[in-house]
Symmetry: C2
Subunit: 397 residues, 2 copies
C-alpha cells in the first residue's frame, strides 16, 4: 500500500485545485467568455515590466554558470544581502544575508521552517479561517494543527481563545497577514496582543513558541492600511515571504524566509533551515529567478487593479443582498453562504458557471472564497450570474 496520508489526500484533495482543474474543463465546454472562475489565487495582473527586462539582462550580462549553477543552499549571498537591506530600509530592521534563506516560494519556505522546528506530536496554532494547506504542511512533519477560532462577523482573533489553545506542546503559531481567505488585515493593536499572549505562554511553560508570519500578500493592502512587520513585535518571529503575488510570479516558486539572530536556538535554526532546504529536495530556490529578484526589489504589481476589482465586486454583491466584510488585503472576498452548507452553495453556483471554493476547506464553513485576482471584465460578465444566484436564494429584497 502506498503512503496512507497521500491515499487520504487523493480522496479529499484540495478543493481549490479540484476547482481549478474543473474550470479548465468548463472553459473547453462553454468557452472562456462564459465561465466565471473565482477559484484559484492565480494573479491576473501582469508582472511589472522590470521583471521581463531583468530576466533578459541576467541572461545577457551574467555568466551562465553563475545564472544556472549551484550556489549555497541558502541562496546567492548577494541576493540575500540585497533582500536584507531592502527589508531594513522598509521596516527599520537590522538583517544581513545570514538572516535570509531564499526558498521555493512561501509553500517551500513554510515546509522548510516546519521541518526545522517541529518534532512529532508538536502543535502549531493558527487562526481560522486559514489557508487549508497549513494542515498538510504541519501534517508532513507529524505535528498537529490547532485552531483558534476568530470572531464570526469580523474574523478578528480573541486573545482568551488564543491563550486557551496554547499548550506546552505548542511549538509554533502561524499567522497569515493579510489573510487568505478572509482578506482581513490584523492591525498593530492585535499583533501586540498576540505577542503578549505568546510571551506570557512561553514564560508560563518555559518553552519557545515560534511565530511564523506567512506574508505572500503583504504588498496587497488597500485604503492605506498598515501591515505590521512582525519581527518588531515578538522576538521568536520567522517571516515567510513569496513573490508569487507581489510580482505575479506564482509559477516560478520564489520567496524567502527571514530568520532573525534573536530567535531562541538561532545557532541551530539558521544552519538547520539551509540543511532542511537541501534534504527536502528543494536544494535551492530557482537560480535565474533569484538573480532576477536581486535586480527587482523595488518592483511591484499595480495593486490598484485588484483594488478596482475589490470595489466593484464588494459593491455589487452587497447590493444584491450577499453578506461579506470588505476585505482590506490580499485578493479574496469571503462571502457568507446563503445556506449553512457552503459546499452545496458552491455546487449550485456551478449551474451559472460560477466557480468559487467552499469555506469549509479553510476552516470557515458557511462561507465561500471568491478569488478576485481575475480580469475586471470577467467580474462584469459574472454579475448577472451572481444576480440569478441571489434571486434563487431570495437574497434580493
Amino acid at each position: 500500500m502506498i503512503n496512507e496520508k497521500i491515499l487520504d489526500l487523493n480522496k479529499n484533495g484540495s478543493a481549490i485545485r479540484a476547482m481549478f482543474e474543473e474550470g479548465k474543463i468548463m472553459i473547453a465546454k462553454y468557452g472562456a467568455e462564459n465561465v466565471y472562475d473565482y477559484s484559484l489565487g492565480n494573479p491576473s495582473v501582469e508582472p511589472p515590466k522590470e521583471i521581463r527586462e531583468a530576466y533578459i539582462d541576467v541572461l545577457n550580462e551574467e555568466k551562465p554558470s553563475l545564472v544556472h549553477g549551484y550556489m549555497s543552499n541558502a541562496g546567492y549571498e548577494d541576493v540575500r544581502e540585497a533582500v536584507a537591506q531592502h527589508l531594513n530600509k522598509n521596516f527599520g530592521t537590522a538583517f544581513s544575508a545570514k538572516n535570509i534563506v531564499m526558498t521555493v516560494g512561501a509553500a517551500g519556505g513554510l515546509n522548510v521552517a516546519f521541518k526545522t522546528l517541529l518534532n512529532p506530536g508538536d502543535e502549531v496554532v493558527t487562526f481560522a479561517p486559514f489557508f487549508g494547506e497549513y494542515r498538510n504542511y504541519v501534517n508532513n512533519f507529524d505535528a498537529k494543527l490547532v485552531i483558534s477560532q476568530t470572531d464570526a462577523d469580523t474574523f478578528m482573533p480573541n486573545m482568551e481563545t488564543l491563550a486557551s489553545v496554547i499548550t506546552p506542546k505548542t511549538k509554533a503559531m502561524i499567522i497569515n497577514n493579510p489573510n487568505n481567505p478572509t482578506g482581513v488585515v490584523y492591525p498593530e493593536s492585535v499583533i501586540k496582543e498576540i505577542a503578549e499572549v505568546l510571551v506570557s505562554k512561553e514564560k508560563e511553560y518555559g518553552t519557545s513558541i515560534y511565530l511564523i508570519a506567512d506574508e505572500p500578500y503583504r504588498e496587497l493592502a488597500y485604503d492605506g492600511v498598515d501591515v505590521p512587520y512582525l519581527t518588531k513585535y515578538y522576538h521568536n518571529t520567522i517571516v515567510g515571504y513569496s513573490y508569487s503575488k507581489s510580482l505575479s510570479l506564482p509559477g516560478e516558486r520564489i520567496g524567502y524566509l527571514v530568520l532573525p539572530d534573536c530567535l531562541d536556538d538561532a545557532e541551530e535554526i539558521l544552519p538547520g533551515v539551509a540543511v532542511a532546504n537541501r534534504v527536502l529536495g528543494f536544494v535551492n530556490a530557482p537560480s535565474i529567478t533569484q538573480r532576477v529578484i536581486g535586480r527587482c526589489l523595488d518592483a511591484s504589481v499595480d495593486v490598484e487593479i485588484y483594488n478596482r476589482n475589490r470595489e466593484l465586486l464588494y459593491t455589487k454583491l452587497t447590493e444584491m443582498g450577499y453578506t461579506c466584510i470588505k476585505p482590506q488585503g490580499a485578493f479574496y472576498l469571503f462571502l457568507k453562504s446563503p445556506i449553512a452548507d457552503d459546499k452545496e452553495f458552491v455546487k449550485n453556483a456551478k449551474k451559472y458557471n460560477l466557480l468559487m471554493v467552499a469555506g469549509s476547506g479553510f476552516g470557515g464553513p458557511g462561507y465561500v472564497r471568491i478569488a478576485y485576482c481575475v480580469d475586471y471584465d470577467m467580474i462584469v460578465r459574472s454579475l448577472s450570474a451572481f444576480e440569478k444566484l441571489a434571486v434563487e436564494y431570495g437574497l434580493k429584497k
Copy 2:
C-alpha cells in the same frame, strides 16, 4: 528543542556541501588559480546555447501570465506531452502527458516519489556506494535505507546479496545509473538480473517493490556505452530525471518523474504524486524553465569536454600510482584512498589545496570522490598537487 533530525544533520552535515563552502573560503585566501576544488557536482560545461535563446524566446513570445503563472501541479500539459514523446522516440516507450510529472530537479522528484510510496518503517534498498542524500530522503518519510554491498573492485552488484537484503518491508529500490560516486554504468545484463530478483521477491512476499531509476547522469556516458531504460525491464519502475547535468542547469531545479500506467496502484500513484508535489511545498516545477525545457528537448551539453577531463585525470592518476576503475559515466572518479581512513586522506590532501570528498559519506569508505566537472586547466594545474600527495604516500614506484 528544534527537530531532532535537523539537529543531527547540523552536526553531521553534508561532507560535499561543507567542502563546497570550504572551497569558497580557500579561494578567497589562496586565489582561484591555486585551489583545486573537486568537491561538488556543479557542471563546468556551459549550458547549450539553445537554452539562453529559449529563455529569451519564451520571454518575447509567450504571455507572461502563462510563463510565470500557476499551472496544474504536475506541470504544463504541453511540456509533459513533449517530454513523453521525446522519451517514446528515444526509448521506444509509449508514455503520454499523464505519465510525466515535472519536478523541482531529481532531488524534488525523489522526495515526491518517496512521499507518495513510503509508510513509516518501510525499507528502501540501494547499492553502495550511493549518493549520500538518499539516506536523508528516505529518512524524511521515516523509512529505512538498506544497503546492498557491491563488488569491492568493480562496484558491480551481486544478486545473492541483493536478494538477501529484500524483505516483506521493502517498498522500493533506488538505482543510480550512471552511478554517483563510482562512475559505473550497470549494463543490460545486470539490469535484467536485478529485475529478475525483484519480480521473484514480489512473488515470494506478495508485495509491490518499486524500482526508482535516478538518472540525472543518463546523458553523460562515454565510450559509446549503453544506459538501459529501466521501464522496459521491470513493470514497477519509476524514473526520476533531472536536467541539472545534461543541460548544466543545476540551480534551476528542473526535472521530471516518469510514472508508467503499468505500475501497481497506478490509479493512486499518478494523482498521488501530483498531490505530494503540492503538499511538500514544491507546488510545481519552476514555470519559465518548464517552458524552456519544452523547447530544448533535443539539446545537450558537449559531453566530450567531460570525456577529455576523464581521460586526462584517469591516465595521470593511475600513472602516479593511484588505484581507480575507469568511470564509464557521470563525472566522478572514485579513487582508492592510499590509507584505510579516507577522511584522513581528504584532510591531508587539503594541504595541497586539493578538495575531494571522503567516500564514507557515500557508503564507500576507503575511497574518495573526485568530481571532474571542472575546467580542464584546473586539472592540469592540480596534477603536481596529486603528484606530491602520491609521493607522500609512497605510491610512486
